[in-house]
Symmetry: C2
Subunit: 439 residues, 2 copies
């Protein structure tokens, strides 16, 4: 029986999961693959640190290049994260004739074009299922299962940290700061959580998914991104009262030859599938012209779920090695000569319904003034809720409005005009309503 040898670069959380799976499931994988997968060597920054995976000391090195250039190793798995030296190592591995697998969405969002082109040029496979949605087989589904579909829209919850925080704020009636602290204590949020809570991680992932679905590279820096740190539990409570939950959505849609790709908090209807994806779970709702609306839910992170996706890719690459069929599915889902460059829609042009919360002094005529300005900007109001009466002269009250569909630019201009009304205090809260992906 043939043996295919695997080298690992990075032996942290996910690296440990991959090593555990490759060892513990060795027999099962052989039964399914028809060949042995062997973890030959692993590189880590501190090779002398104790490891709790079944690798002997001699299999662990501090020298990533020794793994990459080991002539017996067929597949190099990069799990160190970050841009460099991960990029250099992957390029070097491809240059050395290795197939590669990575879970590094930041690297792919930033340098994916270079890496995918290098893999295509080298005639080697690059697997990256684990880079988006942990254990959720979303990349395989976009590239293979739904290959017969022209995609219309993807709506996803792909940052577990944010989803955990929002779920806790909603279910336990916590403030953002309290929920963040709890997430950090449980290991669901980093000590420096900026990358997650500002939506950057989600933007990198949706840029990658959009690139695959639409065959057009989406630079992640151009994805309009709002995080969750400005959300208050008051808005979460009003959302529930109105029949919604607030989720950090990562969206990608086609809109008249342009791509509308964005990440921001959004109202999703309580009876939609996305509203029921809570805690650290991730979900990707995909709309294709033939398949209709489909959704994949699962654990978006963690050593074992992410490890499952990494090893799934390793097996996929191994099947290609056994059959001599590397490059069987193009890395970017489209043949290199069929890739295009679609323009991105500006956030100004987005059309959707809006939740608006004004802080106003409880004075006669204020509501009429606000409604008047909205009307002047072609924004019609679907419903209004006034929350409580002022307890004392000069204390602002909340006025909540749900609008009909309106253009983002009109809403921005209207809110600027409304801010200058004397009775309007502080900043108005504006949250988009996402109706497109309801069941």
């Amino acid at each position: 029986m043939q043996t295919i040898q695997v080298g690992l670069i990075g032996l942290g959380n996910v690296g440990g999961g991959v090593a555990t799976i490759l060892t513990q499931q060795a027999e099962l994988i052989t039964q399914r693959l028809g060949a042995r997968l062997m973890l030959k060597r692993a590189a880590r920054r501190h090779p002398e640190h104790p490891i709790d995976v079944s690798l002997s000391a001699s299999q662990v090195t501090g020298d990533a290049l020794a793994v990459i250039h080991d002539p017996e190793i067929d597949i190099v798995v990069e799990l160190m994260g970050g841009y460099e030296p991960a990029r250099t190592y992957l390029l070097e591995a491809l240059r050395a004739g290795k197939h590669v697998v990575t879970a590094n969405k930041a690297l792919l969002a930033e340098h994916g074009q270079e890496l995918f082109e290098a893999a295509a040029a080298a005639g080697r496979d690059i697997g990256f299922e684990a880079s988006v949605g942990g254990g959720i087989p979303v990349i395989r589904t976009i590239k293979e299962g739904f290959v017969a579909n022209r995609f219309g829209a993807i709506a996803s919850i792909i940052n577990g940290t944010c989803n955990y925080i929002l779920s806790q704020m909603s279910d336990e009636d916590l403030d953002f700061a309290e929920a963040l602290k709890e997430a950090q204590a449980l290991g669901y949020a980093e000590a420096d959580p900026h990358f997650d809570i500002a939506g950057i991680d989600a933007a990198q992932k949706i840029a990658l998914l959009a690139s695959l679905a639409f065959g057009s590279w989406v630079p992640h820096q151009q994805v309009y991104t709002e995080g969750i740190d400005g959300l208050s539990r008051r808005d979460i409570a009003y959302a529930r009262e109105l029949g919604y939950r607030i989720k950090l959505l990562a969206l990608a849609k086609t809109a008249g030859g342009r791509l509308d790709v964005r990440v921001h908090p959004a109202f999703v209807a309580l009876d939609s599938w996305l509203a029921h994806v809570n805690g650290v779970h991730n979900a990707v709702s995909i709309q294709g012209d033939a398949v209709g609306r489909s959704m994949l839910i699962g654990r978006g992170a963690g050593a074992m779920p992410t490890g499952s996706a990494v090893v799934g890719d390793v097996v996929d690459v191994a099947r290609n090695i056994l059959q001599g069929s590397s490059g069987r599915v193009p890395p970017r889902a489209y043949q290199e000569n069929s890739l295009q460059q679609l323009p991105l829609q500006k956030i100004d042009e987005v059309v959707c319904r809006y939740y608006l919360r004004f802080q106003v002094l409880d004075q006669p005529g204020t509501l009429a003034a606000i409604a008047g300005i909205l009307g002047q900007h072609d924004i019609s109001i679907e419903s209004v809720l006034q929350k409580g009466r002022a307890h004392a002269q000069g204390t602002p009250v909340s006025v909540v409005m749900m609008t009909h569909e309106a253009r983002e630019q009109s809403v921005q201009r209207a809110l600027q005009a409304i801010a200058s009304l004397p009775a309007v205090q502080g900043e108005t809260i504006r949250i988009r309503v996402e109706d497109a992906m309801e069941t």
Copy 2:
């Protein structure tokens, strides 16, 4: 550019969808596949009938064998349904060196072993993603995406007819007969709905999924099967009151070296993902030891969703043709020499919680007598609801009990003993509670 030619047998609902997709998405598929897929010929029972797909009259024949033996056709797609002559045609196509794709779960559940062995022996591919869950990529996920997992349990809603009927009974407060009639009017149920509502279709599908997940062939006739025709809207209403929805679940679990595969109505918690899969949607919840719990939701039937899955398989086979990598993934997920034969658990041995509804005369001591018999059979009661008082002497009232975990055999025996109590009228309703797949 290479052209791969496809022949179709069956040009009904799904066949029409496949022809439409192959024609309308020809350019898109070429961009992704790197070769042309051409629908060359299609066979149908009445070739003279008008067709609304973009095939010319000369491409349509009444002779399936002419399609199978067309030397230019590489892939034969069987969409006629039924056991024969579908089985003969697929075997003949494999013998003629063609790759095959089918959406025929009944045929695979009945003759899958023969067909999979024939494909393996011929060194040809057999694709069947469309046979379970329409557009949901469940077979690909079990065989490929989750290949690194030992599966623990699959819980699925895989009959759209039943799910539509149960959803309508619940949401519109309809009787079974009314909901069935409505489903028939909308084309969601057949004129003779027995195959669907008795659970046979779901049993065939879960037998197939279990066979792939566990590498052990599950004869569909041995799957314990209860349908939905015995359900009353009263039980659906009580379920909601208790925090549950009733779904027809198709389950497959490993239990101490045995497989527990069954289809029956079950209580699922209102806050579980499965409870939110309504109407004609299907869903498959998969638990793997590495990936954890994951769920795929989508349209379980219909020309276009099922056609999407069929064409996905055709593209998959075409990639293998282009690369010379046929048989890359074994049809039954495991290598032929690694297949095993695990025994099936008997329904008597199932352990779960139960919903019981007794019809009793409102007499002192009745509840105590029922509770006493349950206790004698080691069944402990979690909660009791008495629904209403008798309006007149001799009118039975409903007593609803939720039990703690109990053995099916004990429940059966206890219900027999309870049936002989003088105050107990008519048949006791017994519905299993499925807790395993909650989020």
